[in-house]
Symmetry: C2
Subunit: 134 residues, 2 copies
C-alpha cells in the first residue's frame, strides 16, 4: 500500500500538526521517539517534506519542524505524492500499461474508489484535530 517511508512521513506530519502551533516547534528527535521510528531515517523524510514546502523547519537551538500558515492546507495526498510518488494515483494496480474505464483491469474501479476517497480527505491539520477529539 504505502512504503514504510510514507507511513513514517504521514504519522510524523500528523504528529507535527497535533503538537505544534503558534511559535511552538518540535524536533526530529522528539518526533522519532514519540513514533518509535529510526531518528536519522525520519530526519531525511522530514527534510524532503520541508524541501517541498509541505512542512516548515528552522535550524539551530530551539528550532524544529512546524506547520506555517502556508502549510495549513497540506493534504495526505500531498505527503503521499512527495514520498512515494504519484503511482498510487495514476498507475494501474496490476502494472498494466493500458488500464482505463474503457479497458479496465479487474481492479480498476476498486482502486479508483480508494484513490478518490484519499483525495477527498481533509487537510492534515483538520485530520489532526479529529484525532484529538477522540
Amino acid at each position: 500500500m504505502f512504503s514504510k517511508s510514507c507511513k513514517y512521513a504521514i504519522r510524523a506530519v500528523l504528529h507535527i500538526a497535533a503538537h505544534t502551533g503558534g511559535e511552538k516547534k518540535i524536533g526530529a528527535k522528539e518526533i522519532a521517539e514519540a513514533l518509535e521510528v529510526p531518528k536519522s531515517f525520519l530526519a531525511k523524510l522530514l527534510q524532503q517534506l520541508a524541501r517541498h514546502h509541505l512542512i516548515s523547519s528552522s535550524k539551530g537551538a530551539g528550532g524544529g519542524f512546524y506547520l506555517a500558515p502556508e502549510n495549513q492546507e497540506v493534504s495526505l495526498e500531498d505527503v503521499i505524492r512527495c514520498i512515494d510518488g504519484e503511482d498510487l494515483f495514476t498507475s494501474c494496480a496490476l502494472g498494466l500499461p493500458v488500464c482505463s474505464s474503457d479497458k479496465p483491469c479487474p481492479l480498476h474501479c476498486h482502486t479508483l474508489a480508494f484513490r478518490q476517497s484519499i483525495e477527498q480527505m481533509r487537510s492534515i491539520p483538520a485530520l489532526a484535530r479529529e484525532i484529538k477529539e477522540n
Copy 2:
C-alpha cells in the same frame, strides 16, 4: 499497493484462467512472453501458487499450468495473501500497532472499504470471463 511479484502473479493467474480449460495447459514460458515479465521469476511465483494449491501444474512434455476443478473458486484475495502475505487485509495502513474501529487511524475506514471491495470480488475464472466479454 501490491508488490511487483503480486502483480505478476495476479496477471498470470488471470491469463491461465483465460487460456486454459479442459485438457489444455499453458507453460511458464508462454505466460511470461504474453505478459512480458521475466520468465524465471514468474516461474517461481507460479510454483508458489501451485504449492499452495491455488493453481495446478503438471511436469514433463505437454505439461504446464492450469486450473483444476478444485481451483475454480480461487479468488484474487487468495493470490494476494499467497504472494504478499495478509498485511493488506489485516494491518493498519500507517503501520500503527493499534488501529481499530474503536481507535481508528485517519485512513482506517478508507482501507477497510478497499479491503472489503477486494474480498467481495468474484472468483478468478469469473473475472477472466468478464474480461473476455469486453
